[in-house]
Amino acid sequence: MADELKSTRQALGDTLISYMDKYKDNKLIVLTADLTGPTGLLQFSKSYPGNFMDLGIAESNMIGVGAGMALDGMKVVMTSFASFITGRYDQIRCSLAYPKIPCIIVGTHSGMAIGRDGVTQMGLEDIAIMRALPNMRVIQPNNYTNACEIIDYLLKNDLNSPVYLRLHRQPYYDEFGDWDIDGQNITIYFSGCFGREVYNIIQRLNSKGISGVSAEIVRSIKPLLTPIAPTTKMIVTIEDHSIIGGLGSAIIERCSEMEINPKIIRIGLNDIFPESGKPEDLYRKYKLDEDSIYERIIYEFEKLHT
């Protein structure tokens, strides 16, 4: 199947399988809380049952058991939906972050993309919660290919702290090629599955005569490794997450530290819970589809230049 049709949650299962095929690492253990299929682990659970464990609908226990296994030297990957796993904040805080336990915490079904199941299944504040924890890294790949690379890297290297890995349910593919790197007018920072939309938006802005627009994919939200050009006049951040505490906030924090003052527009969920619906309807209603984002950028850009 072409990469276009694969999701980052599938990257989890696929990369775990290829890692085990190659290294037969008896220290690897992958934990699920009754969500084997939805987290992309069905094939892995069948191919490597000795390295897989279902702990049932008990995420708090899963986090503690994972912590214990890591303390005795295992390479632990614990998985659930982003909302459910980060929802056990105190367990992550006390059992993983404070003792700096090396492990991978995977939250799938991030953002609104699950659609019809509704808000309780959507990870919408998970970046904010995980960012607030010392010792916690926060990583979000933007498509299947780089998700495989990132997961492979995390499995092959000794971690010295916990890592929160934010994955997605939906298949997504983008081509992030050589874009106009002169971001003098607008720099777009996005994290997650927005590459195609951002590419299209830049083309549309260029056609409207707005040049000097660049884009950066942010995969490591914490630590924030993406450089910010001090001369850019306007920054737009895009995330399938609340505008409070996520990528947008991280960028604002960095600009403040750099003592620069571009106009900053955070695009995401505006401190509002969405609802059940088809994903495309949700992205349109809550202004996270390509047209809404484009119109918002035009509006803010024109406001800045009048």
Partner: protein, 265 residues
């Protein structure tokens, strides 16, 4: 190793009194147990082969005290209890002091970690027993039951779970009575979860040398919070009370009397 539980009480009392901070009652109620555990397997705990997790993390002074007695923590270091830059935090922190077994303090989490450690030892072919001390109040946390159900399914070998049944929690008497008897929890455990449940009515009569090594064990110890304090200080009020100088001297005298009786007995 022969660990005098009264010496442990003396060390704990001094540690907490000096800093005017800590939990005397909960720490006192586990010293007989800790003394017995260290008699059985102290040398393996010190090498890291065995693991001791205090899920009721506020009772960690008992562990610091026994580690001081066996020389793993110096007297000088003991004086840094709850001070800044110390390894001896108010609740145990495993990456600072690996002998604590797990970072605990938010109740209900330590048992899951203990089970994870026991399973990992099995999977990796390591020897070693994992012991976990939980409080009876902690049984109110849902995660404890998640952990027990999980342990029942995967039955790690070499896991011992100790329940300090002192019929107390921070606010006073135990809120949910479990039919008011520790022996009732014993039957819940037997019928519902574990095959091996040991029940001791008197902390001073704990015997640990015939615990099963093929399945997890539950050991319930019926106790009084602050066991080992003079009668007037025992019980529900001993959770986080700090004695004044006069009270301190009364308690110290009482402990020292028992300490020498234990040594002579």
């Amino acid at each position: 190793m022969r660990i005098n539980p009264w010496t442990l009480r003396k060390i704990i009392l001094k540690m907490i009194y000096q800093k005017k901070s800590g939990h005397i009652g909960p720490s006192f109620s586990i010293v007989d147990l800790i003394s017995k555990i260290f008699s059985e397997s102290g040398d393996r705990i010190l090498t890291g082969e065995d693991v001791l997790i205090i899920s009721k993390g506020h009772a960690v002074p008992a562990l610091y005290a026994v580690l001081n007695m066996v020389g793993a923590i110096s007297d000088e270091e003991l004086e840094t209890f709850r001070e800044i830059d110390s390894r001896l935090e108010g609740h145990p922190v495993v990456n600072k002091l690996p002998l604590v077994g797990a970072t605990t303090g938010s109740l209900g989490q330590g048992l899951s970690i203990a089970i994870g450690r026991a399973l990992a030892k099995e999977k990796l072919g390591k020897n070693g027993t994992v012991s976990c001390i939980i409080g009876d109040g902690e049984l109110q946390e849902g995660q404890i039951w998640e952990a027990l159900l999980f342990a029942n399914k995967y039955k790690p070998k070499n896991l011992n779970i100790y329940i300090d049944w002192n019929n107390s929690q921070n606010n006073g008497e135990l809120l949910f009575n479990f039919n008011t008897q520790a022996s009732a929890i014993d039957s819940i455990m037997k019928d519902f979860i574990f095959n091996r449940v040991y029940y001791f009515n008197d902390p001073e009569k704990i015997e640990l040398n015939n615990l099963n090594k093929k399945e997890p064990n539950i050991v319930i110890i019926k106790n009084k919070k602050g066991f080992g304090l003079p009668k007037e200080f025992e019980g529900e009020n001993s959770h986080s009370f700090i004695p004044n100088e006069e009270e301190y001297n009364i308690i110290l005298k009482y402990i020292e009397k028992n300490e020498s009786e234990y040594n002579n007995g």
